[in-house]
């Protein structure tokens, strides 16, 4: 098995442009929510913007990350208003407006909206991230925001108001690296997202995977084919994420450490998952398909000649080999 060829197919079948209709629905819904927020908060809010993977050029088509960052003015909720007030006010507004068409719930730093399936069965998910500028009218100059932590987020405690960041810098940092090194960084990030998405509800944020991929590239001479590059990144995560001095600086605020978004157990689990993956693929290349499957929806059918049961020219279905 040619591992790199398989990985290229994985990326190809996960290209976001292949799900144009669904992408358009997300963009449309995101714009609707953005307009609603601007109408509700008027001059108290700067234009909300998308900070998800689509904005960073690292999206895959099996999970759309549409994070709508909503930058509020410092005094939007009165001069003594708290971040918690901001967070709850936005939640109340979104809940009242969308409660009949979506499940609106409080998440770690965002408010998640999962719209009920439309007639095509498509589900649109938008996360609204309320943030507040540090000082009145300062956002235009520095684009810095304070976020509210609703519930325990790695080592950040619930109710904490200490996440200060610059989302635009975050986006640009990833986007620039992913675009400039699209054959390496962008591909690896997309592969890791395919892996994470495949795991279901995995605690590691996509942003964490983006930053750690970049860090792996900054710390290693990463060359060779796609599998060889991916392998080095997987090894880097395996070997480093549990180290006591391991940090992942937020490009939006160097005093934020993304390593803090995972608990010690979650870091151990991530390292152990990398180790298992490397071992299993090392034992048998075919296991790569378990971790990095192609998106069957867009898999091109290949001629099956020379495959099982076709030598006689009459296709024979493969036998059942798993039993209960």
């Amino acid at each position: 098995m040619n591992k790199s060829k398989h990985l290229e197919e994985v990326i190809k079948t996960h290209q976001i442009t292949k799900e144009k209709a669904l992408l358009d629905k997300h963009i449309q819904k995101k714009n609707e929510v953005k307009d609603a927020l601007e109408e509700k908060y008027g001059t108290d809010i700067y234009p909300p913007f998308n900070s998800g993977s689509y904005a960073k050029n690292t999206a895959i088509n099996t999970k759309f990350d549409f994070d709508l960052v909503s930058p509020f003015k410092r005094n939007a909720f009165s001069s003594s208003g708290t971040l918690e007030q901001m967070y709850n006010d936005v939640y109340d507004f979104l809940y009242d407006k969308y409660k009949n068409e979506a499940e609106v719930k409080k998440q770690k730093v965002s408010i998640g909206m999962e719209f009920y399936a439309d007639s095509d069965g498509d589900v649109i998910k938008i996360d609204v991230v309320p943030g507040r500028e540090l000082n009145q009218d300062q956002y235009s100059d520095d684009e810095n925001l304070n976020l509210y932590v609703y519930y325990k987020y790695g080592n950040f405690d619930a109710g904490s108001e200490r996440i200060k960041t610059n989302v635009k810098t975050q986006i640009n940092n990833i986007k620039d690296r992913a675009t400039n090194e699209k054959d390496s960084i962008r591909k690896i990030i997309r592969l890791l997202k395919v892996w994470k998405n495949n795991k279901g509800n995995y605690p590691t944020k996509s942003f964490f995977l983006e930053l750690i991929t970049i860090k792996a590239f900054d710390n290693n001479e990463i060359t060779g084919n796609l599998w060889e590059k991916l392998k080095v990144v997987l090894e880097f995560i395996r070997d480093n994420v549990t180290k006591e001095n391991f940090t992942l600086k937020d490009p939006g605020n160097s005093s934020n450490d993304l390593a803090d978004t995972l608990t010690t157990y979650e870091k151990q689990q991530l390292s152990s998952d990398m180790e298992n993956m490397l071992n299993r693929i090392g034992e048998n290349d075919e296991n790569l398909k378990t971790y990095f499957p192609e998106n069957q929806k867009f898999k091109e059918e290949v001629s099956n000649k020379n495959e099982y049961g076709t030598n006689s020219g009459i296709p024979i279905p493969p036998p059942k080999l798993n039993f209960g």
């Binding site: 495949n198 298992n276 039993f323």
Partner: protein
Amino acid sequence: MKGRTTEINTIIGNIPDVTIIEPFELKDGLTKGCISVFVEGLTEAIQFFVEISEQYPFKWHDSETIKFFNSELLDYKHIMEDGSACIHTAHSPVLSKKLNYDIESVKAWIKKYYINRELDTHYEHLIVPRRKFKDACFAYFFNEVDYQFSKNQYGYLDYSTINMGHFHKDRCTSSIIQSFRNKDNKELVEAKWNFQIKSLEKHIGVYIFIENTPSKNNRWIFEKWGDFADILPPDFLKFLHFVEGQFRKNEGAHLPLMIGYKITESEIHWQAVMLEIGNFPIYGEKVNQQWVSQLDKERIIDWAMTRDCSYKYFFGRGKLCDRITESKILMIGVGAIGSIVAKTFVRTGCTKLDFIDFDVKEPENICRSEYSFTTGLNNKTDDLIFELFRISPFFEPIKGGYEFSETFNYFIKSNLSDNQLKSEIEKYLNSYDIIIDCTADNDLLYILSRLNITSSLINLSISNHAKHLICATEQNRYEFITTQFNGSVLEFDTEDLHNPTGCWSPTFKASYNDINTLVQFSIKHINLKMGEKKQLRNFVIETEDQNGFNIKLKEF
């Protein structure tokens, strides 16, 4: 034998702090003597009469064949009714070593329970002599109930006989307490048994909650009814008289009386007494021109055996982690793997299990699953539920019959494209905490992998000759299993399959032992992970038969 007696005298005579008071002699088949044992902390040595059986130094029926008696020690812990010390000692086939061990154990007993008067952390039940009642033994099983009894509360109870067997050579009838009623026969509370047990034929008994232990020394239970003279209230004796009259036509039949008392602040123990209708331990006496019921004080109490079968005791010796046992579980597919998983779960403390399988149990299924021959052709779900009822009184299936299985199968495979019904199916499945799919049905695997299931969904399947067990626990279960079985990953014999007679699909070859080994290994792993609140990962158990059996678990 004389040589052995001499040897015993010599050995014991040489043990430090032990003095032979009466030399050992062979009497009535036993080697008997008297010794005194001194332990630091005593003012004077303690004497014991010692009896050594012929089997010594070996045990007989789990009992030591040496006994150390002192009837003056009856008030101390771990002294039996006959005045013998209950010692925990070590094995040795060598007479001298064994005698040394046993006397060391007596010294340890003296230090712990005589000098230090230590109390054990666990509750020690009263010693109840096992007696036959009218040539048979009786045993009553009770279970904790959600009810607070008050002191001297009495009334009726319902009990059901679950089996008539033997206790060694004696006939033994085992029954369970079903419910408690007040003295006016109004139901107060039902015991927590499964509905099959609850549906057994019920008989009447009586109870009284006396609150305090029926014992003079907290060691042995009362021997004669006279011991209860100041405890059982006149009203209760009157009630007993009334009950006896009520059942007069059944004269000679037995009627159990359960006597309840607290063993901890929150725990009640019930001890059964056998009463014979027409021969209750009461009599009438005229006091101030009125007939009053009195206790027949000299009558020996016919205590019966009682067992507390509450969940914590029933599974006290070992169970799976709470995260599994407290879960509501759905088992899809109860063939070889599924029936073993189900039986293991029920034996290890799970109570809420539902089953889906529309297959019928055939005789050839029995050799490698948890079914029995005598139930003949039967729906697997019905048959398994019946088997499991017999194991645990707490197993309580909610759904699991043939109709339910057919309905589930139809809905899940017919409505994947209908978003509303799909959402209903998801909602239904998500009402379970754990779903175990042992069908090896790849269509179902595909469907389940396309549903938004928040429960812990675990797929278990096996390769031919039980060479591997594949366990999928993650969202990518479909890709994982199909990759493992695509012919390029797991290597096993794909030709040597078992072809049942008739038009059946070939099935894998493996014995109950082959399959059970892998299933138990996987349950062990899952239990460990869930017990430690860790994430479950897909895994494969690989086996190797060359150079002995080897087994290896690989996590993905």
